[in-house]
Amino acid sequence: MKPETQSRIGIYVCHCGGNISDYVDVAQVAAAVAQEPGVTISRTHMFTCSDAAQQEIIKDIQEQKLNGLVIASCSPKLHMYTFRAMAERAGVNPYQYVQVNLREQDSWAHTHHRDEATRKGIALVKAGIAKSRLSEPLVPLRVNTKPRVLVVGGGVTGLKTALALSDLGIAVDVVERSERLGGWVADWKKLYPTGQDGQALVAELEQALAQRANIKVHTQAKVTGRSGNLGDFTIRIRTPQGEQDLNVGALVMATGFAAYAPLPQEFGFGLPGVVTLPELKKSLSRGEPLQTSDGRPVKTLAFIYCVGSRQKKTAAQPQVNTHCSRTCCTAAAHLGLNLTGAYPALRQYHLYRDVRTYGKHELIFGENREKGAVYVRFDEKEPPVVSTEGAQLRVKVKDTLTRREELEIAADLVVLVTGMLPRENAELINILKVPVDRNGFFKEIHPKLRPVETVMDGLFIAGAAQSPRLIGEAVSSALAAVSKCGALLKKGYVDLEPMIAVVKTDKCTGCNACLGVCPYQAIEKTVCDGRDQVTVIPFSCKGCGACVPLCPENALDVKGYTDEQMTAAITALAQEAAV
């Protein structure tokens, strides 16, 4: 703590045009706090953020040798960084600048009570001064970043991530748990929307990969441990060759999706001739003909949509997949179209709940209908029933498009249009602390504005592991993750906010009350001078303060918001309120 006598604080109260001064007497506020202990100078400005005002403040700082600043203006959301940068230019530690919000918290809130608003303004500034007097100079935590990224998952998303990172000059390790690359796409031929061959696509990516000296592919590999932090992680992986540690600056999770596996009897699953869409697509891609379970040609084909997706919670089934898998309506229509091409006499019935062939894929849906596929809409409360009569499959369905006519379709093959689920990855999620949503997909910080970042700094997500998506969409997110990695790693270092938790080693008794609460796993057990204690990992702590009130010994403090500072600020406020 800095002795109070050494404080030389400058106070700047802003008119904000009239946003503040129309309702708060700013001159009175400035005068009322001028005599506070530690205050050297107290002024007002029409616009404190203007360049002219900043120049004047910088001049004051240098001439008056100020070592603390309180600016009473707008919300710190607007100008905290403006004034921090100004303080730094003038030679004052940016963390010894305190912003008091006189606009949102005072003038705008009390437009009809000028005197009271002025009194509140004085109290708020005095609290800011009390906090400033106890402020300490802080320096950002600098992490020297490793120009290397670990990509988990070697599907199309992972491979494209690796290639694009390599283009940026960032080295890559790809960890793939199976023995081959390409994920699902490596099993498929014709893909929509272009009709491109999936296997050729994967071969193309693999060829490009082989040209890069800075990409290392580890197959039959799994992540077994993690330590370190943003910019400097150590990830342990195990391959058939043994264990090794990879030192990387960031991670991209591209672990893809699993197909929903229908339960026995679900829509006749288990009966001969009832298959799933991914299975059928795979078998046709292998060049096998479209045939019944006993090898006859298929004349009538029935698809049942939304199997394993868009489920409703019931008492019997509380754990359901509520999401729409997005790709399956189009995948089924596209497969139907290809089959019509190969087998013109084939009759197709598509039993659906809603058709979600969004965007350009609507054309595939339209073309499939025009070429003769019959779409039958069922109500989710009355789903189709599949049964057999001898070798013949029968699908019963109530068609909501014909007065709920109960139809029976004699089908040779029934295709269950199964949805996309996240792959089973409990161990990986636990080791890397990847946040997941209620359907088990990896979860971003903000679906619109921060779509590939997670709450774990340095851990990015991409592809179908995040939500059901097409290859093009998966690759877009891969490239977004690449640009985030590039922005993080190319500079060579990253500066983190120094407002983090610290443990007062003289007070911590090692009771571990704080251990479980930290959402970032930033608190660790340690031994200090032979005593059990905890320690905070500086680069992992985000300064959220969740741990502080839990400590029964008051052994935790967040820098910049210490107990002492907060108590002083509250005391100042309370004294003013009592006047």
Partner: protein, 100 residues
């Protein structure tokens, strides 16, 4: 319970152009029909597509009362040639019912 039967559509198609399978059941035609024929074209067409012959036969009068004004056809978003399809259906019914 009605068995779906693709044969009816095949026979109808033999009488002329019939592209009702492209219909997506939006209901535009029903809303626009000046005669207020509620089950023409989308329901009767669908009965043909699914092979529900009895339902078609129960609606012969409706098929023949259509004015062929094409109000529906020009507005169909799925480009179903509705009036042309009605004509084809009439040819089919004339052949099968009246042996014309």
């Amino acid at each position: 319970m009605t068995r779906v039967n693709a044969e009816l559509l095949k026979t109808v198609e033999a009488s002329g152009e019939f592209n009702a399978v492209a219909c997506m059941n939006c209901g535009t035609c029903t809303a626009l029909c000046p005669l207020g024929l509620t089950n023409l074209p989308r329901e009767i067409f669908r009965d043909v597509v699914l092979g529900l012959e009895e339902k078609v036969l129960a609606n012969v009068e409706t098929v023949f009362s259509c004015l062929l004004c094409r109000m529906c056809q020009v507005n169909c978003p799925a480009e179903v040639k509705i009036a042309d399809n009605v004509r084809t259906l009439r040819v089919h019914l004339n052949k099968t019912l009246h042996h014309l």
